[in-house]
Amino acid sequence: MILHHIQDSVEQSSGLTTCLRYIALGDSILLSGNAINCLLKREWRAKLANLRVVALKEDVNARGLQDYLKDVKQISYNEFVELSLEHEKVISW
């Protein structure tokens, strides 16, 4: 079980694309920073549809995206720490 952490916008980094290529059953994805923005795009929603995806709440609110991402599970920094501990390792792409 791996927690994949993506921080950069998909426009600037291929991190999420690479992560999706190697993701395994039972893994989770945490989006923070500008990586969250991809959730506004239908194309990326489709790619992430069957995966466990969470977004960092503070980064969502900071960007004024809370109303657009109501259906996405959002977690606090404390929950982020808990989530890291629940997984065997974290990969920061």
């Binding site: 791996i2 291929s14 991190g15 694309t17 690479t18 290529r21 190697y22 993701i23 395994a24 065997e88 390792k89 990969i91 920061s92 792409w93």
Partner: protein, 118 residues
């Protein structure tokens, strides 16, 4: 001894990522960690033959790839999907290795203790 996988996913030269990744690989290996390398996406370009980074003022850190076996780094994977995307073949690469399918790479990432991405 920890199993450490270092992923090169960014193109060499232009940024310091690749060099830092390789430095860390050699350093970890000389601290007797079990190091494996994975080259994916444009990171694969690190492995191309006949590079001349010094001509653009970059350090030739690629040369150290030839010393991997002396550092006991035996597992070197390249992503087959990335190879195809870039139109490259194994004979285009400067070291002997085998291409791995994404599923094989997932399995490897699950097996190691730590994964660091450059």
């Amino acid at each position: 001894m920890k199993k450490l996988c270092i992923i090169f996913r960014q193109a060499p030269h232009g940024t310091a990522h690749g060099r830092e990744g390789l430095d860390l690989s050699l350093l970890s290996a000389s601290f007797e960690q079990e190091v494996s390398l994975l080259f994916s996406d444009e990171g694969l370009l690190t492995l191309l033959k006949s590079q001349d980074p010094e001509s653009i003022g970059s350090k030739d850190y690629i040369a150290a790839l030839g010393a991997l076996s002396l550092y006991d780094i035996e597992t070197v994977l390249v992503c087959q999907e990335s190879m195809q995307a870039l139109g490259l073949e194994l004979e285009d690469l400067r070291i002997d290795l085998s291409a791995a399918l994404p599923t094989e790479i997932s399995k490897h990432l699950a097996e190691v203790d730590e994964v660091l991405v450059f």
